[in-house]
């Protein structure tokens, strides 16, 4: 009887340590969509910065789609916020993050596409100069503009440095300029702070507007 109990105890201990090891081996899968992967030197840098996280495995960047995928130990519980921060630190604009957790749950930043109630509001077209350099700038500028309530569409052209806007009456060009300047890009009536400009990635440090 004594030996049976000892054997049972050893089996239980063995199963328990196997469970711990299995948990440690479990990975969360991450899909991050990033805008502005036009410059390979910078895009490879994004991957490299993420690889500084010990435990990150299987990093892969698809330059065409902007998809960046990797796995990370589930026990670390890496958050969406941490990922977004790391992407922005590398100078890029995170569009969406999807985490497929090892336990089967899914976390995402993706939102359902808004019903274009915007189109029911009156639209006005405006064009403003916005200083920038590259595809990363384009992504940042357009994201900042589109985040302003009342902006229905924003499209920035690097060759002309012009941002074409479609606005409803809910906002103004001045409000959009301020939002863009806050993101780091000079406009005629609103300038980025020196600190924000200095924090832009090297390839984004455009000639300042006077």
């Amino acid at each position: 009887m004594k030996y049976i109990i000892m054997l049972a105890a050893m089996l239980l201990i063995g199963m328990s340590s196997n469970n711990v090891q299995a948990q440690n081996n479990e990975k969360d899968n991450f899909l991050v969509q990033v805008d502005g992967l036009g410059c390979p030197f910078c895009a490879y840098g994004l991957e490299k910065k993420f690889k500084e996280w010990k435990g990150l495995k299987n990093p892969k960047i698809d330059m065409e789609t902007g998809n960046f995928t990797f796995t990370y130990p589930a026990t670390q519980k890496l958050t969406i916020a941490a990922i977004q921060k790391q992407v922005e630190a590398a100078g890029y604009t995170p569009v969406s993050v999807v985490i497929n957790r090892a336990d089967g749950s899914v976390e995402t930043t993706k939102k359902e596409v808004e019903v274009t109630k915007k189109t029911t509001q009156a639209s006005q077209k405006a064009t403003i100069t916005v200083a920038g350099n590259c595809d990363m700038c384009k992504a940042r500028i357009e994201k900042a503009a589109n985040a302003v309530k009342g902006v229905q569409n924003a499209n920035w052209d690097n060759s002309t440095q012009q941002l074409t806007l479609l606005l409803s009456n809910a906002t103004s060009v001045q409000t959009v300029e301020q939002a863009i300047a806050k993101a780091g890009h000079d406009t005629p009536n609103a300038k980025a702070s020196d600190k924000t400009y200095d924090n832009l990635h090297g390839c984004c440090q455009y000639p300042r507007l006077k």
């Binding site: 036009g38 410059c39 390979p40 030197f41 490879y44 840098g45 991957e47 490299k48 690889k51 330059m63 350099n133 590259c134 690097n158 090297g202 390839c203 440090q205």
Partner: protein
């Protein structure tokens, strides 16, 4: 009679001085109707298919291309075919080659790899953070360190670092290419949008290209007369003399050019944007 003869003589002389000779006329015409000077002109375009070219070198009679997106080294055969030779690299960048090896900076893992055509060996350089280019000249080597904004230099013994992050002379902002030329070190100072020239003690000598307002000077090639610089975002290659005077702006068939190389009387430019190799001849 003498007065008449003298007058006639003076008149003849005046007529001769006043008229241009036919040869002089031709020379004048030549001076005003200038003969077009020779320029680099496109002669061939090669589709690289899915290759995303970052670096280019010439080794054992063939062009070799670093495919940064797909982490591989490919050879362009003389027939124009693309042959994948080495895979599983980690973001290979601007290459160099000598008689024995291709030197491959692997940006993703901070090593310089050497490939003899069959086998690859790695030299880890822990002091690096994203090597973007290597240049080899005998026992001398130079490496562009992207995230440290420095050039590492070695004359066969110890590595020394030149430069720091900044916009002043001798400072760099993400250097992406480097070339040893005699006693000079040429640097593609990408996000300062210029080329800088140092001596082998790291002392700044010259800056080239600021007037042309490049946008990301990603690749360079220097011969004994000219400097070629790829202007990535402006889709052009600028050609300078070694004093820094602009000689030509090449725009044909360029889309996000990353590197340039001369072999014999041709220059080769790789386009990251259109995934092409474009060939120019001096005509």
């Amino acid at each position: 009679m003498n007065v008449y003869h003298n007058t006639l003589l003076v008149a003849v002389l005046l007529i001769m001085i006043g008229c241009d000779s036919p040869k002089a006329t031709e020379k004048t015409a030549e001076a005003t109707n200038t003969v077009p000077t020779a320029k680099w002109q496109e002669v061939e375009r090669i589709d690289l298919d899915t290759i995303a070219p970052i670096g280019l070198t010439y080794f054992k009679g063939n062009l070799w291309i670093a495919d940064g997106d797909n982490n591989q080294l490919v050879k362009l055969t003389k027939a124009g075919a693309i042959e994948v030779v080495l895979q599983d690299l980690e973001r290979p960048m601007h290459l160099d080659g000598d008689a024995d090896y291709i030197y491959i900076p692997e940006y993703g893992k901070d090593v310089i790899s050497r490939f003899d055509g069959n086998q690859k060996t790695e030299e880890s350089m822990e002091q690096l953070d994203a090597p973007a280019s290597i240049s080899v000249q005998g026992a001398r080597q130079a490496v562009a360190d992207f995230y440290h904004h420095q050039i590492w230099y070695n004359e066969g013994e110890n590595w020394v670092a030149f430069g720091e992050k900044g916009k002043e002379n001798g400072q760099f902002h993400y250097p992406t290419d480097v070339q040893l030329v005699g006693d000079k070190i040429y640097v593609a100072d990408a996000y300062n949008h210029r080329v800088q020239v140092l001596d082998k003690q790291g002392k700044w000598l010259q800056t080239i290209g600021e007037a042309e307002k490049m946008n990301a000077t990603t690749g360079i090639y220097v011969n004994d007369k000219a400097l070629f610089a790829t202007d990535f975002e402006n889709n052009r290659v600028l050609v300078y003399d070694l004093e820094g005077n602009l000689q030509q702006t090449i725009t044909e068939q360029l889309e996000k050019p990353t590197d340039v190389l001369q072999v014999d009387n041709r220059i080769y430019v790789i386009n990251y944007g259109s995934k092409e190799l474009v060939v120019y001849e001096y005509q």
